[in-house]
C-alpha cells in the first residue's frame, strides 16, 4: 500500500525510520509545513530552543553522549545561519548531527527572497556533506544517505535544505529498501597486512613507546582493544582532550592529557619517546606545539579512518587507514608481551615532580577553580557526564576530573566554541536521562547561550549547571599576563547576579564562596529534579598550569613553581 504524503510527512517518516525521537529546533516561515506535520507524529518530541545555535549544540551534545545521530531543525535565512557555529563545532570534533533547514520555494531561489540564504553554499566547507532537495522524490534517499554519511566513517554534520514547496508537494510515499548507493563514499575498514607487519615491527623494536589516544577510539568503540595493547606491551597512554575516556584514567598506564595544558609527564614522555602510536587523533597544533621539534626522536605509527589526516601535520613512518577497532583487532594477535620498566619509572619521576607542584592540596584563602573541579569529581563519584564550555574551567576539568568511562566528557575541542557548554549539556541529559549531567561553564561562555536556561526549564531537564565565576575571561587574561605584559584589556567582566538570574527563570540556585560548601552544593544540586544553577566564586588570577606557549616546543612548558620556590 502506498500513501499520498507531503514532503514534510515523508521527511518525518524517514526520520522515524532512522530512530529519531528527539528534534531540537526553532520554527519559522519556510519550515512551517514540517512543524505542522510534527503535530501528526507524537512519537517525535520537539524541543523548542531559544536560539538556533543552541539547537545545533544540543544535537551535538546528544550525539556525543549517546553515539546516535542528533537532529537540529531551523527555518531558512537567519534560522539557518544561526546554526553555522554549531555545525562548524560538530565538524571539527567529528560529531554526527543532521541539520534540517527550510528554504524559500524553488521558484524564489536566487531572487533574494525574504529570509533567503544560500545555506548549502554557506555550510559547504563546514559540513561533511550537504543537500538542497529540489525534487520531493529524492527526499527519502537523501535522508537515508544523510544519516548514513553523518554516522559512518569519520562522523560529521550533514545538512539538508528543503524548499517550502518541496515540503508541501504530495507524492506516493515508498520507503526505499535497496542499498544506499554512494559511489564516491567508501569508509575504510581494514588495514593492509603489510601495514600491520610494519607497525608490529616498530612496536617490538621500541624501548620508549607511547600511545596517543584520541577521539577516534571512542567513535570506533575500541576502548578494550587499546587497553589490551597498552597492557600487553606495557605502553603508557597519553590522552587528547577529546580522547578522555578512551582509557580509564585511574589505570596505572594512563598518564593523562597531552598538549598545551596537558600533564607535564605526558608532554615530556612524548618528546622523549622513541615511538608514538597515534590512535584516532590528528596532531592538532594544541597537541604538538612546535612541529619542528615535536617528538624528534620518535618513529611514528598513525592509525586514522581519514586518509587525509595521515602525514598532514606530522610525517609518519607507518600510516594505517582504517577503523580503529578493526585495525587493532588485526594488530593485537601479533603483539608480544613486553615490559619497559625503566621507561615507566622515568615517567613516574615526572609525575611525582608534578604532584609536588600541584595546587590541589594547598591551603588557599580563596576558592580555586582547580579545587572546585576536583571536589566536584570527588562528590559526584567521578561518574557524572560533564559537559564543558571553553576556557580555563575546561582545562581544569580535563586536569582535575578524571573519567573512567567513554563518552562522559563532552567538550568543544577543535573549534573551541564558547557557549557550547549549557546547550550541549541539555542535549546530553535528554539523550541520557539516567545519567547525572553537569554543565561546567565559565562566566564568559555561559553568557553567550544562557537563553537556553529557558529551554532547560520548559523541558524540565535536570541538568546541573556549575558556573566557575572569576569575573574575567580567564584564559584570555592568562595570555595577557604571560604574553601581553599584563595589559588586561577587554577581559574583566561585569556580570549579572547569576543566582537572581536563575531565580527569574524559576531555577533553584546556590552561590559557593568557600571550599567547604562544594559538598553541600552537590547535595543541593541533586536534591532538585530539574535544572539547578550553582555559582562558584573563584580566584580572579588563577592560572592553568602547565602551559605550552602557542608554537613553542612541547617540553618548554611554563610550570607551576614548587611550594619552596614560590
Amino acid at each position: 500500500m502506498t500513501q499520498l504524503l507531503n514532503g514534510s510527512e515523508i521527511l518525518l517518516e524517514c526520520l522515524i525510520r532512522e530512530g529519531v525521537d528527539l528534534i531540537f529546533g526553532y520554527p519559522g516561515g519556510a519550515i512551517l509545513p514540517t512543524y505542522d506535520a510534527l503535530t501528526k507524529y507524537p512519537q517525535i518530541h520537539h524541543v523548542l530552543v531559544r536560539h538556533e545555535q543552541g539547537a545545533c549544540h544540543m544535537a551535538d551534545g546528544y550525539a556525543r553522549a549517546t553515539g546516535k545521530v542528533g537532529v537540529a531543525m531551523a527555518t531558512s535565512g537567519p534560522g539557518a545561519t544561526n546554526l553555522v557555529t554549531g555545525i562548524a563545532t560538530a565538524m571539527m570534533d567529528s560529531s554526527p548531527i543532521v541539520c534540517i533547514t527550510g528554504q524559500v520555494t524553488r521558484g524564489a531561489i536566487g531572487s533574494d527572497a525574504f529570509q533567503e540564504t544560500d545555506v548549502t553554499g554557506v555550510t559547504l566547507p563546514i559540513t561533511k556533506h550537504n543537500y538542497l532537495v529540489m525534487d520531493v522524490h529524492e527526499l527519502p534517499y537523501i535522508v537515508r544517505e544523510a544519516f548514513y554519511i553523518a554516522r559512518s566513517g569519520r562522523p560529521g554534520p550533514v545538512l539538508i535544505d528543503i524548499p517550502k514547496d518541496v515540503q508541501q508537494e504530495k507524492i506516493e510515499f515508498v520507503y526505499p529498501t535497496d542499498e544506499i548507493r554512494l559511489p564516491g563514499y567508501r569508509p575504510p575498514q581494514k588495514a593492509r597486512p603489510d601495514e600491520i607487519q610494519n607497525a608490529l615491527e616498530l612496536i617490538h623494536q621500541a624501548e620508549r613507546p607511547i600511545i596517543l589516544a584520541g577521539h577516534g577510539i571512542l567513535m570506533s568503540g575500541a576502548m578494550n582493544e587499546v587497553r589490551e595493547l597498552a597492557e600487553r606491551a606495557q605502553i603508557p597512554v597519553a590522552l587528547t582532550l577529546l580522547g578522555k575516556g578512551a582509557m580509564p584514567e585511574s589505570h596505572p598506564l594512563t598518564i593523562g592529557m597531552m598538549g598545551m595544558h596537558g600533564e607535564a609527564a605526558s608532554n615530556y614522555a612524548i618528546q622523549d619517546a622513541d615511538l608514538l602510536i597515534a590512535l584516532g587523533m590528528r596532531f592538532d597544533d594544541r597537541v604538538t606545539g612546535n612541529l619542528k621539534t615535536y617528538a624528534r626522536n620518535a618513529k611514528k605509527i598513525h592509525v586514522d579512518i581519514d586518509a587525509s589526516e595521515i602525514n598532514k601535520n606530522v610525517q609518519v613512518n607507518v600510516g594505517v587507514v582504517g577503523d580503529l577497532k578493526t585495525v587493532l583487532t588485526q594488530l593485537l594477535p601479533g603483539v608480544k608481551r613486553m615490559s619497559h620498566p625503566e621507561w615507566l619509572n622515568r615517567i613516574r619521576d615526572w609525575q611525582e615532580d608534578s604532584d609536588e607542584r600541584d595546587i590541589i592540596n594547598r591551603e588557599a584563602d580563596v576558592l580555586l577553580g582547580a579545587q572546585v573541579l576536583n571536589d566536584l569529581w570527588h562528590f559526584t563519584g567521578g561518574e557524572a557526564i560533564t559537559v564543558t564550555d571553553v576556557g580555563q574551567h575546561q582545562m581544569l576539568e580535563a586536569q582535575y576530573y578524571p573519567h573512567q568511562r567513554p563518552m562522559t566528557m563532552i567538550t568543544s575541542g577543535g573549534l573551541g566554541t564558547m557557549g557550547f557548554g549549557l546547550p550541549a549539556a541539555i542535549g546530553a541529559k535528554m539523550g541520557m536521562p539516567g545519567e547525572e549531567v553537569w554543565a561546567i561553564v565559565g562566566d564568559g561562555g555561559f553568557q553567550m547561550t544562557l537563553c537556553e536556561l529557558a529551554t532547560a526549564k520548559q523541558e524540565n531537564v535536570p541538568v546541573k549547571i556549575a558556573i566557575i565565576n572569576n569575573n574575567y575571561l580567564g584564559m584570555v587574561r592568562q595570555w595577557q599576563e604571560f604574553f601581553y605584559e599584563e595589559r588586561y584589556y577587554a577581559t574583566p567582566m561585569f556580570n549579572p547576579d547569576f543566582c537572581k538570574l536563575a531565580e527569574a527563570y524559576g531555577i533553584p540556585s546556590m552561590r559557593v564562596t568557600e571550599r567547604e560548601q562544594v559538598a553541600e552544593s552537590v547535595t543541593f544540586a541533586r536534591a532538585h529534579n530539574g535544572p539547578v544553577l550553582i555559582e562558584y566564586m573563584v580566584q580572579k588570577e588563577e592560572i592553568v598550569y602547565p602551559m605550552v606557549p602557542a608554537g613553542a616546543d612541547l617540553d618548554k612548558m611554563i610550570r607551576r613553581p614548587k611550594p619552596n620556590e614560590a
Binding site: L124, K128, M134, D135, E169, R181, L182, G184, A307
Partner: protein
C-alpha cells in the same frame, strides 16, 4: 628521497557525479586547504552521470597524494588518480590571436606554425587566430615564439590528461533515482553541468 628538480606540477584526474554543485565543492576544497591550483577543467565523459575533472596543482608528489586524499573525502567524488605519477598523455588547447597585417608577419606566422602541431584557423586583414592542442610545454614554447608578432588575445582550456595503456579510470555508477521518476521542475541537473 629522490626529489629531482623535475616539474613541481601534479596532475590529478577526478571522476565526479554529474550533479549540481560538484564543481563548487571541489573549488571550495582547494581554497579551504590552501592548495595552489594551476588549472581545473571539467567535462562530460562517455557515461551520462559522470563528469571528469583534470586538476593541475603546484606542489610536491606528497602534496599530490594529500590533495587526492582530500578529494576522495568529497562524497560526490567517485575516484581520483594522480596521473602525473604514471605514464600519461596530457593536452592543453590554446587559441592565440596575433597581429598579421602584412606579408612579413604572415610569413613568419606560417613558419612558426609549421614547427608546431598548430594551425591558423582564422585570418583577416589585421589579425589571425592560431590553434594548438599539445602538451603544455609545447604550447608555452609556441606562445613565446608568437610574442614578437604581438599577441592581442588568448584563451587556453587548461590541461586534460589520461593515463596510458590499460590503466582505466572508470565507474559503472548509475544514480539511484531513474530520471523518468523525477518530477519536472526545470532543474535539469543531469543534463547540464550547473554549479
Amino acid at each position: 628521497m629522490t626529489d629531482k628538480p623535475e616539474s613541481r606540477k601534479q596532475i590529478l584526474v577526478a571522476l565526479v557525479e554529474n550533479k549540481p554543485g560538484v564543481l563548487n565543492r571541489v573549488a571550495s576544497l582547494f581554497r579551504r586547504r590552501n592548495f595552489n591550483v594551476d588549472s581545473l577543467t571539467v567535462g562530460r565523459t562517455h557515461r551520462r552521470h559522470i563528469s571528469r575533472m583534470t586538476i593541475v596543482v603546484d606542489g610536491s608528489r606528497n602534496d599530490g597524494w594529500r590533495i587526492a586524499a582530500n578529494l576522495l573525502k568529497l562524497i560526490n567524488v567517485i575516484d581520483v588518480a594522480l596521473v602525473s605519477q604514471e605514464p600519461h598523455v596530457s593536452r592543453d588547447l590554446a587559441l592565440i590571436k596575433v597581429n598579421a597585417n602584412d606579408a612579413d608577419s604572415r610569413n613568419t606566422l606560417t613558419q612558426i606554425c609549421d614547427k608546431y602541431p598548430a594551425h591558423i584557423v582564422d585570418i583577416g586583414p589585421e589579425v589571425a587566430i592560431v590553434q594548438i592542442a599539445a602538451q603544455e610545454d609545447l604550447v608555452e614554447s609556441l606562445i613565446q615564439e608568437l610574442k614578437p608578432l604581438g599577441i592581442v588575445e588568448m584563451v587556453r582550456t587548461g590541461v586534460v590528461a589520461m593515463g596510458r595503456g590499460i590503466r582505466i579510470l572508470d565507474s559503472q555508477y548509475e544514480p539511484v533515482i531513474p530520471i523518468t521518476a523525477r518530477s519536472g521542475n526545470g532543474n535539469g541537473s543531469f543534463e547540464a553541468y550547473s554549479v
